[in-house]
Symmetry: C2
Subunit: 764 residues, 2 copies
């Protein structure tokens, strides 16, 4: 393998110090001169018609600046999936979930705005509501939207081969049903926005915590009704996102409306209660799996019936279902595959993205299902996976082109390091070991684009400044970009700075950070930008040294002739020579990377949507307390195909964080509703997040497949590392105590119930 | 003349709306998380030895974070003029003026910091002090610095021809002495800085209101003792500067020291009292003029003895004296010229820059002197000036190359429009008319450079974004730069945005705004950047239209074939075609302008230091109330050689502001001292600024000489428009009542005294 100077080294994140010393300026720290404060009035009903809104009393409250409702602005239908727009910025004919926005107030301070909310009189006519997926699909259930029969808002069907024929040829068929709940990101920093409309110039500046800025501009602009060219977006630091802060969301929209109406800056910060009760989060899923195999374990047919709960509006759900088409058939070679996805409206909060999307839910079900299938066959599940696993060069049923694929190595490595052979069936009572695997895209064409741009500016002092519109909420793209530029220029990370603030006034186009896209897209752009700088410097240095640019190398802060390393100049002298030659300053390198991928076929979910695909496998070891039903996860071993480990320090922390998240999915996390559709978890004391006390010992192995498209061969792993944990834990619990929990999270009472049922079965 | 689309139009400033609606974020609005507040302890003595500083009581005050004095950091000598460093960040052996900094405190709030100042015990040994220039030069006067004999800190001597021989050949010689006081900028926004030191990364971020950032980095870095590469400087909006906010000043230095010591952000904002009593301001000047002429008015010899009061440290004074070498001989052809400059230490506040520097003081003296000389000869002063005036192609005695020069046109135009002929000697009693002229550089090589850089970025939406490190404190460079880019790209000003924040993290090298340099240097860089964008777009469009780039033109938001204007594409389509051709995005245009000028010979002040030179002439009309001594300036006519009037709206407001400033110099403004060297004017109610009630009717004429180096022929006029007003008013007062005030400002009591003296002379 090539020798690198910076790449592959465990380099601390470039912004870690400013973060831990509290000097980073977060979105919530933004204070503008003359700024007002906004609050949002939300529906107390899950399903109701709005008869009348009277804001007059609120408007007369001293300190209140303005009130906006649906009557103040043209209400433009919006939605994440084109052609599927089904919601307005305010619920104005009907409200379809508790917490739906009805009005917003701007006042001189938050307390006054809060007080004004109570003075807004809204007359509602309450309707019957429906909250559960399969309830909502029944004939006669309350309709959330008149147009959606049986509350089915969106369908996607994918079929390869002939699945019915496949099942006929199978020696053994197994079917299972799994269910996962709504869960939330619970980011430490609540969502916040400050909108500043300038009524004379007609420009709006939005301070936001959104990860996706450029590609979300058109939708945001359309909703608030001003040209995207008149929008300036500024993103200060964000206190974690976990995938849930993608686009410019409702606080930005209402801050914008309020600022548009009063012509002054308006700030809205969600309370923690709003964060829990109104954040759009990962959707509930019911998944039916049916798999047919030959006696020897060869897969012949796979079917998934995928029922997801979009909540009151489609929002992210169609994307979730589409991506699960590809995730479902990503791991295995199988001639006959069918996926039937139904996105179902209910009167709950609409769904949005969360790290790993509903992929983690699907993965839990599929890996649990296959664990049982392998047991039914009397086969070691690891052997079963190895037998059917996709390999490099394969094209999956959903048309993903696997130009690199380390799935088999991941399975082998995790089995070895996780001591699968040694421990399986040989652990003491109430201890168990479980296995699961996963795959995930590394970015995809989301808004017709998967583009990243990086600029490198070298100034007259020789300072190297990187400018990028990435969104770094802890996962490390800033460091990764700086490392790539440093590697290309032969510098060290300390020689390079990167912009903190993301501001569309000077940051070039960037799709943002989601879908594990950062590493590949932004890394390639960073390399290209570094090479563009290098090309310009090499021209000058080659002239000076009487050689040609292709004979030169940049390393150890020098540019020199490869074959005579003593003949060279320092990087700083090269910059000086460049400048003195009269070439344009600042020296600018541009890196632009748009992968040659395909748009997804939205009817089937097919298409080579990502330039690279990551894989991983995990082994979990648990101990179950059969008296209390409590599960302790002792250790998790995780092996992941990261293409090339750019920075083991960041990779390992991503792995540990991902496993913590998977642990939450498995054992703790759930957003639940009362009978009126009101969220029950409204604070960190209600919502069960795993803490450091529950975190298992983690051992991570990195499998380096050197992807031909990735930067230095690297692939994004942020999501894939979090996917198999829940299933590995579920399988380990089964291994420990012989019970199978089919509905997450696996809370102690469910374990106890299952044990009791198991016992009664044995007695009967 | 060439037809322009944008240039020459009266376009409102691009930031005027954000300013007048209060939405601009000024330096004083900066709030950082965890920020402390600093205050500065200043010497109560004008001259004393510091025996002991005891900070222990202050350090124990609850809420105090840290105290810094000279013992906390290595004290590095600094100064504006290389080789002349004579001061330390803190007065630590001695203090040499009242208000000199002795210690600084950071506390949780300003009140606590203020309280702590009282708890710092400093033992002083007081020395005799000296405040007046000619007192300080006498043998036996207290020495401010031991090394400076007769308190002369710096000398500059310039001689061309043989001035003694010249005077021998003269038919008539006149000598005069004039004196001008210290004056201050009195900007609405007080100086303020926030320093944020990161102790782990070793980086310091300084939020400052300084106009000069990049070229001041090395000095600032040396003082605070960290590498300039570890410095990031951010400049929010600045509430006026008037030339007095050049470099990163003491509040920045103490904020940095405090932040370095406590590892947290520290903010220091000057109180208004500090602004008056401690701001470094334009220096007092005593100038002796001796001029010899032939009978017909032809100049044969000019001599100036220039005694400037540097205050306790040299700071800006050597620069001031150097520039006055060139200003002294800038207007007139004269074979024998001599300038002897002495910069004298006293125990007053050191000097710094103010719009027009001490040039305005010199101009007042020289124009008053020549007015009297012309009267002595029985010659119309206008004819005298016209006879001797420099013309295009001349090289001045100080080696300024006048590649354009509209001095004669300015004199003729101002005489015509100001009704000089009609009014001179024909006005009613106590009314008078006066004339004066001026010249000034348009930028100069100040730190070995006179460089400006402008970037233009065109993004995937076709948005055109300009990035520049200019300092816009009201004089309009932002608008000027945008206009130049718009003109080049055939767009309108509204199609273009320009960065608000100046941040070294993304703004390219820029010398800053001083010395009337903005228009020429930044304008040329903007044009170059626009042309660089155009070049790249023309390549694509030419290919598409089957023509060559040189056949194309950009106008009215289109790019088309000059000879077949219907054959073309819109600007947006050209950007799209550029992008679709696979060329690198964002499209970036770079403009870099370093004028081919000379470094000044610091021994003589000679050298072609500026790429262009501006000229102006003014006629003032006054009425004097001989009972009260009050002078009303009725109207001022001003004609200025601006090369090309890029934007008449901004030019006229610069002219009106300049005249207001000249009016202040003439009649009102003065910083004075009590017998202990303490400043007497400490608020806007003590310091006499002209208000709108005193502002005369102003009529400005723009003479367009189309300078070969200026952008579209333009030159900078910010300083030259303010120079001749004081002399024109003084000459008008003489014309009105026959008395001559030789020491500014011309306060009512001085007028009355002079009238009394004149009367007693007549009686005697």
């Amino acid at each position: 393998m090539k020798e690198y100077s910076v790449i592959g080294k465990p380099i601390p994140q470039v912004d870690s110090i400013v973060k831990v010393t509290g000097r980073l300026k977060y979105i919530t720290d933004i204070v503008l001169p003359g700024m007002f404060h906004g609050k949002i009035l939300r529906s107390p009903y899950a399903h109701a018609r709005i008869i009348k809104i009277d804001t007059s009393k609120a408007e007369r409250l001293p300190g209140v600046i303005t009130v906006v409702t649906s009557r103040d602005f043209p209400m433009v239908k919006s939605g994440r999936a084109l052609g599927l727009e089904d919601e307005y910025p305010f619920g104005f004919d009907k409200v379809r979930h508790c917490g739906e926005e009805v009005a917003a107030v701007a006042a001189i301070d938050e307390a006054t705005a809060e007080e004004a909310l109570d003075l807004i009189k809204v007359e509602y006519e309450e309707f019957p509501a429906v909250f559960e997926i399969e309830e909502a699909m029944k004939p006669g259930a309350p309709l959330v939207h008149d147009h959606a029969k049986n509350n089915i808002g969106y369908e996607i069907h994918h079929s390869v081969g002939d699945v019915d024929q496949g099942f006929k040829k199978a020696d053994y068929i197994r079917e299972d049903r799994f269910e996962t709940p709504m869960a939330t990101a619970a980011a430490p920093g609540p969502r916040c926005a400050v909108a500043d409309y300038d009524p004379v110039n007609g420009t709006l500046t939005l301070y936001t915590d959104a990860n996706i800025i450029y590609s979300a501009l058109p939708v945001f602009a359309r909703i608030i009704g001003i040209s995207e060219k008149k929008l300036r977006v500024i993103k200060p630091a964000v206190a974690c996102a976990f995938g849930a802060k993608g686009r410019m969301n409702e606080v930005g929209i209402y801050a914008a409306f309020l600022s548009l109406k009063c012509g002054r800056p308006v700030r809205i910060e969600r309370t923690r209660e709003e964060e829990f009760a109104n954040i759009r989060s990962v959707e509930p899923l019911i998944a039916y799996f049916k798999t047919g195999v030959k006696k020897d374990g060869t897969l012949v047919a796979m079917h998934c019936r995928h029922l997801s709960n979009s909540g009151a509006y489609l929002d992210f759900s169609p994307w979730d279902a589409r991506q699960n088409v590809g995730v479902f058939d990503m791991l295995f070679r199988c001639p006959n595959v069918k996926f039937d996805g139904y996105v179902v409206y209910t009167n709950t909060i609409p769904s949005a993205a969360l790290r790993g999307l509903t992929n983690r839910a699907l993965n839990f079900g599929q890996n649990s299902h296959l664990d049982m299938l392998a047991r039914d066959l009397g086969m070691d599940v690891v052997d079963f996976y190895l037998k059917n696993a996709h390999q490099k060069g394969d094209v999956t049923a959903s048309k993903y082109k696997l130009d690199s694929c380390g799935l088999i190595e991941c399975i082998q490595e995790v089995a070895k390091t996780g001591a699968w052979e040694e421990k399986r069936g040989k652990l003491p009572a109430r201890r168990g070991i479980g296995f699961a695997a996963a795959g995930h895209t590394c970015g995809f064409r989301a808004y017709g684009s998967d583009l990243s741009t990086v600029l490198v500016e070298v100034d007259d002092l020789g300072c190297v400044k990187v400018i990028s519109g990435r969104s770094d909420f802890g996962q490390g793209p800033s460091t990764m970009i700086v490392m790539c530029v440093a590697e290309e220029l032969g510098l060290s990370v300390e020689d390079i700075t990167i912009n903190e603030l993301i501001d569309t006034q000077f940051v070039p186009w960037e799709c943002g950070n989601y879908g594990s896209r950062g590493t590949v897209q932004q890394g390639n752009a960073a390399i290209a930008a570094g090479q563009d700088v290098k090309r310009q410097l090499f021209e000058v240095v080659a002239e000076k040294l009487g050689t040609t640019p292709d004979q030169l190398e940049a390393k150890d802060k020098r540019i020199f002739i490869k074959d005579s390393p003593d003949k060279g100049v320092s990087f700083l002298w090269a910059v000086k020579d460049y400048r003195d030659s009269g070439r344009p300053m600042p020296l600018i390198g541009r890196g632009y990377y748009e992968p040659p991928t395909e748009d997804m076929d939205t009817k089937t979910g097919e298409g080579n949507v990502s330039i690279a695909y990551g894989f991983g496998a995990q082994v979990a070891e648990v101990e179950v307390d059969t008296e209390t039903g409590k599960v302790a996860v002792l250790r998790v071993t995780s092996a992941n195909d990261c293409g090339k480990a750019l920075n083991p320090l960041i990779l390992n922390s991503e792995s540990e964080g991902g496993i913590s998240m998977g642990l939450g999915t498995a054992l703790f996390e759930e957003i639940s509703y009362d009978e009126k559709g009101r969220v029950l978890e409204t604070s960190f004391s209600d919502y069960r997040l795993p803490s450091v006390w529950q975190q298992p010992e983690v051992k991570t192995i990195w499998v380096e497949t050197v992807d031909p498209h990735g930067p230095y061969g690297a692939k994004g792993i942020t999501e894939v590392v979090s996917l198999p944990t829940a299933a590995a834990i579920a399988n380990a619990i089964y291994d420990a105590i012989g019970v199978r929990i089919r509905k997450l999270p696996m809370l102690p009472w469910k374990i106890l119930d299952a044990l009791r049922e198991e016992k009664s079965k044995i007695k009967a």
